[in-house]
Symmetry: C2
Subunit: 370 residues, 2 copies
């Protein structure tokens, strides 16, 4: 498959770590929130996958931008934007929150950090949530301040992340529970650290506000992480598809609703809270959903995903589409995330997918794969 | 300068023309509105620049997405979003309209197409204007429908574009005035065509709604355009900087206001119309602007722009930053678009810019260069 270069410009923002990862052997980028997000280094995706599952990696994920919403109406605005009931949310906790529009269509799926009831960060996937927030705040005349602060996340992921972070930051960091966050000291600077990340291999995300100290910490992790075999990395497509960590824009978009994506437990239509799209979602819930995200295993050893790929049943009827796919060394075939139409998502039929111009046999399954 | 590959995925959408341009010798992409936008072919940027100024090119600019706003409150919503007075706008006309937020900060600079007073298209630069529109519509409870229709623009640009389009579509097309649009017939299908485009070399943009017919027209232009030396192309960085066609995200962003960017004639703060940020802009206008977009000529023959580059005066004081830059074969040096701080934009001092690790002499000038 022919490869193409990425044209850089100020509009596709570099991160504070860009010059470092390019020296560390970076080979490819994607663009995410108008920013460079690494997608590969000199070693193969598969080698990096095995390394991630065994050791520890440091990832430049500064493209996970923050939308800061503060002020006396900030809790109201954040709740308006998400179908998840945040009325019992706590300071210092992260919440995975689908953001939806008036039709119940998905706009984004950020991790929402509640600093306190008048200061929230939405750690967003790839769409300009800040513009939605600004439009709503203006229209509803809310007393809020909405900004994109200078916060550049890097992640420390993998089973050895705990030992590495303990070595650098002390024993306290190991007590941080999953999806909790708080500030930790590194050589006199405070860094917000959450136990979270875009893998299921465990680890932390460091929300760097003090860039100079953050770069020092980044370098320190490599200088002192040799015993844990630390390497640079990136959200790994094999690991994330096996774990069914959904990707906004890949696996779902504004034409899909939370029920179709399996976000039922984050879609609290029976709660008392007011949010946009609640009536639309109640209406959707009263019927069968039109389509459903599922897994698919395809009998082939390579796939190139640059747009959706049709899935047909054995009668040649289109039953859905593959939206993300990758060869899995664990399953020894291509696995993917697909959207399957009603009524085909009800029984897991055999199906066919045309990959690399060949008709390939495939099977649907529930998510996640692992 | 090391080059990096772009990682494709469904999230970075292909256009209907992607498979064609890749066969035609594409070498690099940028990402624009979550879509692939070509930035180079096998021939050099400079060769393509000379060709554009002499002949005709067909460009895949489907990444210029449309935000369709229709319904009884659509005129009200479009006017709320832009500081340009649209009260005397006419059906079938295009309007260049800065979109601003409550602080007067720029969000986008679309070409707005008025189909009629209840149907508008915003042909947007690179930010999710649809989310701003949705937020405002919900908050203000406006009776509108907001969608991203399946419209995939390709442009025909260059001095020979008139002759080529006349050959294919007939004499009527030559009567279309600059920034007018209407539907033209091609083999039984109607295509909205505007006399517009992201160059100053003249030409048209075809807003393809009927994909099949649009692809036929795309191919037809190449099949029948040999006598005009037609080639595939893309918005050419040399031509657009010489002409000072500003690029949202490169030359300005949400921290800049329309007065700082020279959009005074599109910023109608003394009109009677209501728009967001009007009070903020009145306040800004009552003082000196904090910074101003200008041109810069740098005595060097190559620049790599991946983020802003500081500009210093001869006393080593930072006076601004270069935001876009390219070697111009016309001026035989690097030219750029830069933001210069108060009071330095008042007198066009000699200055210095560090390019490729060398201190280079530079001069400020007014825009455009040509």
């Amino acid at each position: 498959m022919k490869k193409f270069y990425i044209a850089k410009s100020r509009r596709i923002r570099a991160t504070p770590y860009t010059s470092r990862i390019e020296k560390q052997g970076l080979s490819s980028y994607t663009v995410y929130n108008h920013m460079l997000l690494p997608t590969g280094f000199n070693e193969s995706l598969e080698d990096d996958y095995h390394h991630l599952k065994k050791y520890v990696q440091v990832w430049d994920v500064a493209a996970e931008r923050q939308v800061e919403i503060s002020g006396q109406d900030s809790s109201k605005l954040v709740q308006l934007m998400t179908c998840r009931d945040l009325s019992n949310s706590k300071d210092g906790r992260c919440y995975y929150c689908p953001i939806i529009d008036e039709n119940g269509g998905l706009i984004n799926d950020p991790v929402v950090l509640r600093h306190n009831k008048e200061k929230w960060w939405l750690s967003i996937a790839d769409s300009d949530v800040i513009l939605y927030a600004k439009g709503l705040a203006i229209g509803y005349k809310l007393k809020v301040k909405i900004t994109e602060p200078n916060v550049d996340i890097f992640a420390v992921q993998g089973p050895k992340s705990y030992a590495l972070m303990e070595k650098i930051l002390g024993h306290e960091i190991t007590k941080l529970k999953f999806f909790d966050f708080r500030y930790f000291d590194f050589k006199g600077s405070k860094h917000l650290i959450a136990r979270s990340g875009w893998s299921k291999q465990g680890g932390y995300e460091i929300y760097v506000e003090d860039t100079k100290s953050g770069l020092l910490l980044y370098d320190h992790l490599f200088d002192h992480g040799k015993e844990f075999n630390v390497k640079p990395g990136y959200p790994n497509a094999i690991e994330r598809i096996e774990s069914a960590l959904l990707s906004c824009g890949n696996d779902f978009d504004n034409n899909d609703n939370p029920f179709e994506c399996g976000f039922d437990k984050y879609t609290n239509i029976d709660s008392d809270v007011e949010f946009i799209g609640k009536d639309a979602l109640k209406n959707i819930k009263s019927k069968d959903i039109a389509k459903k995200l599922m897994g698919i295993m395809i009998d082939v050893n390579f796939i190139d995903m640059s747009s959706s790929i049709e899935i047909k049943d054995l009668n040649n009827t289109i039953i859905g589409e593959v939206r993300s796919g990758i060869y899995s060394p664990t399953f020894k075939k291509v696995i993917g995330i697909c959207m399957i139409n009603l009524p085909f998502y009800r029984d897991f039929k055999e199906c066919n997918v045309v990959v690399n111009e060949n008709i390939c046999e495939a099977k649907l399954c529930e998510l996640p794969f692992i």
